[in-house]
Amino acid sequence: MKMSKDLMVKLYKNMVRVRALEEKIIECLFAGKIATFYHSGAGQEAPGVALGALLNDDDYLYYQHRSHGINKCVPKGVDPKLIIAEHFGRATGGAGGIAGFHYAKPELGIFGFAGLVAGEITLATGAAIACQMNGRGQVTVSCFGDGATGRGTVHESMLMASAWKLPIIFFCENNMMAQWTHIKLTHPRKEDLSEFAHYYGMPSATVDGQDVIAVYEAVKPAIERARAGEGPSFLEIKTLRYAGHVEGLPDYSVEHQGGMRTPEEVEEMKKRDPIALYQEVLLKKNVATAEEITKMNEEAKAEMEEAMRFAEGSPWPARPDFDKLLYAE
C-alpha cells in the first residue's frame, strides 16, 4: 500500500505521543499526584495509532481500559491535556474530574469506556445502528481485548451486527493476557481469535499488531467495507503487553500462578517494540533521519510535560449541581 510521507510521519509522531503521555501519567501516579489507577498499554501503541489515522471526526470510537484509550483517542484528536487533567481529577479534565480514568468527547464520537470489561461493546453496536440509520457513511469501531471475548456481550453484539449488516469493526487487541491470566488457560482451542468471526459470517483478519503499517493496511479495507454498507468485520490485532494488569501491583502473571509468562519472555517482547520497529522502517525508506526521529521523540515528551503542568495548575472541581449531571433537561 502506498502511503504518503506525511501520513508515515504522523503515525510515528502519534506512537511516541501515546507512549510519552502514558509514561508521564505513570510517573505522576508514582509521585502521588494521581489518585486513580492506570492500566499501561506500553507495547501496544501501534493498533490504536493506525486506527486513529483512518477515522473521521464523526466516526464513533469506543475504547477500552488498556491504556485508558490514550492509544486511540490521542490519534483520533483528543487533546492530551484533557486526558491527563482528568486523571488528576481536575475541573479541566475530559469529564470535569468526575470520571478519573474515563473521558468523553462527543464531538469526536468518543463516549468513554465501561468499568466492566466488554461493557461498551453493546453501546458501540448501538452507535453503529445510528450510523446505519444516518446513512452518511459513518462507521463505528469497537475496541476490546482478548479477555473481553469471554463475555456474552461480544457475541450478542457480533450476532446483531452481522444480522443487520451494521457498519462496525470489532477491533480485538489480543495481548494474550486478561488481567493476569494467560489466554491459553481460558480459550482451549488456542487458535486465532479471528475464528470467532467465521461463525457470525463476517470477514476477519489476524494482524501483527507490532507493525503499525500492517495494522493500517488491515483496518483500511474493513472501514471501507463498513462505509460502503457491506457490514461488519472482525480484526484480531496480535500485540504485546509489557506491564502487569495495573500499575502499582506486581505482575502476577510473571511472578505467581506458575509463571504464565517468564520475565525473560517479557524482555524478549521488547525486541518487537512497535516504535523501535517503525523507526527502522522510517530510516530505511528515507522518510525521516535519525535526527528528525530524535526531535519528534523530544517534542512528544515536551508536549506531555506541558500537558502535565496544565493539569497540575488546573483547579479542583467545586461540588457541581449533581442533579444536572444525573438527569438531562
Binding site: A95, L116, T153, L325, Y327
Partner: protein, 339 residues
C-alpha cells in the same frame, strides 16, 4: 369521551411519537408483533428500519439502545417481561443510569425501556415480578408506572420525549382493561401524582394494577363500612410527587401503602419513611404496608399466598382506623388470577 384498551393506548402513543419524530425506533424480541398487543400496525407503517425485531439478546438490545441514544436516536425497547431485564442488568444499571453522570454530563440518553410487569397470571417466579424498588434505588433512571389507559398513553408519550432513560412499567393485567382516552393530543407529565379516588378517612398509596384492585376494595369499604379512602397514584416513582402524598396524609391522618413488589426494602418502606420524616405528627396510627411477601412468586394458584390480595387491603384499612370489625370480601373483588 371514547374508551379504549390500555394496550391500544400504548399502541397509539407509539404510532403518534414515531410519526412525530423519525429518531424514535422500536426494538426488542418479537417487537414487530409483541406479546401484549401493543405493536399493531407499527411494522407495516414504519418498516424494519424502525421496528427492529431482534435475536434473544437482552444485553445487546439494551446496550445498543444506550449507544444509539447517545448518538442521537430515541430507542424504545420492549423487554416482553420486566423480569428479562436481568440479562441486560449491566446495560440498565451501569450504562443507561450512570453513563451521563460518569462522563461529566456530556451525553444524554433518551431511552425508554418498556417492561411489562406483574403477577396474578400464574406465570411463576421469573415472569411475574414488578421490580420497581430495584429501579427506584438506582439514581439516573426515571420510572413510570401507569394504572389506566389515559395514563398509559400520556406517560409513554412523555417518556419518549424525555431526554433520560425511563423504565416504563406497564402491567400485564391492565392490558385488557378499558378507560377514557381523549382523541386529541395530550401528555401526562412526570412527577405529578393523580388522586384516583378522593376521600377523607384513609390515604392509600397505590401504583399500577394495585390502583385497580384498590378502587374495587374502596367501593366496598364505602358501601358496607362507610369508610372513605383517598387513593393517591404517584404515576411516576422517579420523579416522585411526595407533596401530594403528604398533603393527603395530613388530611386523612392515616396511610396504607399497597404495592405489588416484594415488601422487604420495597417502595412501601421508602414511602413510609418519607412520611415519617415529613408528616409523623399528623399520623393517628402506624402506617401499614400491603405488599408481596418476601418469597419468589409462586406459580398457578399458589401465587395468591404471596401477592397482595384484596382482602388484605381491606383488612389493612380497617386496622389503621382501629376498627375491630371486618369487611369480608369473599367473592366480591377478584384479581385477574384464574384460580
Amino acid at each position: 369521551m371514547r374508551e379504549i384498551l390500555y394496550n391500544a393506548a400504548l399502541n397509539e402513543a407509539m404510532h403518534e411519537e414515531m410519526s412525530r419524530d423519525d429518531k424514535v425506533y422500536y426494538i426488542g424480541e418479537e417487537c414487530a408483533e409483541d406479546t401484549w398487543g401493543t405493536s399493531t400496525g407499527l411494522f407495516e407503517k414504519f418498516g424494519k428500519a424502525r421496528v427492529k425485531n431482534t435475536a434473544i439478546s437482552e444485553a445487546a438490545i439494551l446496550g445498543s439502545s444506550v449507544g444509539a441514544a447517545m448518538a442521537g436516536y430515541r430507542p424504545i425497547v420492549n423487554l416482553m417481561f420486566a423480569d428479562f431485564y436481568v440479562c441486560g442488568a449491566d446495560e440498565v444499571l451501569n450504562k443507561a443510569a450512570k453513563w451521563r453522570f460518569a462522563n461529566g454530563g456530556k451525553v444524554t440518553i433518551p431511552l425508554v425501556v418498556r417492561a411489562p410487569i406483574g403477577g396474578y397470571s400464574g406465570l411463576g417466579p421469573d415472569h411475574s415480578q414488578c421490580l420497581e424498588s430495584l429501579f427506584m434505588r438506582t439514581p439516573g433512571l426515571k420510572i413510570a408506572i401507569p394504572a389506566t389507559p389515559y395514563d398509559a398513553k400520556g406517560l409513554l408519550k412523555s417518556a419518549i420525549r424525555d431526554n433520560n432513560p425511563v423504565i416504563f412499567l406497564e402491567h400485564k393485567n391492565l392490558m385488557g382493561t378499558t378507560g377514557p382516552v381523549p382523541e386529541e393530543e395530550y401528555t401526562v407529565p412526570f412527577g405529578v401524582a393523580d388522586i384516583k379516588r378522593a376521600g377523607t378517612d384513609v390515604t392509600v398509596f397505590a401504583t399500577g394494577y394495585m390502583v385497580k384492585l384498590m378502587l374495587d376494595v374502596s367501593r366496598h369499604l364505602q358501601e358496607e363500612k362507610g369508610i372513605s379512602t383517598e387513593i393517591v397514584d404517584p404515576r411516576t416513582l422517579e420523579p416522585l410527587d411526595m407533596e401530594t402524598v403528604i398533603a393527603s396524609v395530613k388530611k386523612t391522618k392515616h396511610l396504607v401503602i399497597v404495592d405489588e413488589d416484594t415488601k422487604r426494602c420495597g417502595v412501601g418502606a421508602e414511602i413510609a419513611m418519607q412520611v415519617m420524616e415529613n408528616a409523623f405528627d399528623y399520623l393517628d396510627a402506624p402506617v401499614k404496608r400491603v405488599q408481596a411477601e418476601n418469597y419468589p412468586i409462586a406459580a398457578c394458584s399458589m401465587e395468591k399466598y404471596i401477592l397482595p390480595q384484596p382482602q388484605e387491603m381491606a383488612d389493612a384499612v380497617m386496622e389503621v382506623l382501629g376498627r375491630s370489625d371486618r369487611l369480608d370480601l369473599t367473592g366480591k373483588v377478584k384479581t385477574a388470577s384464574m384460580v
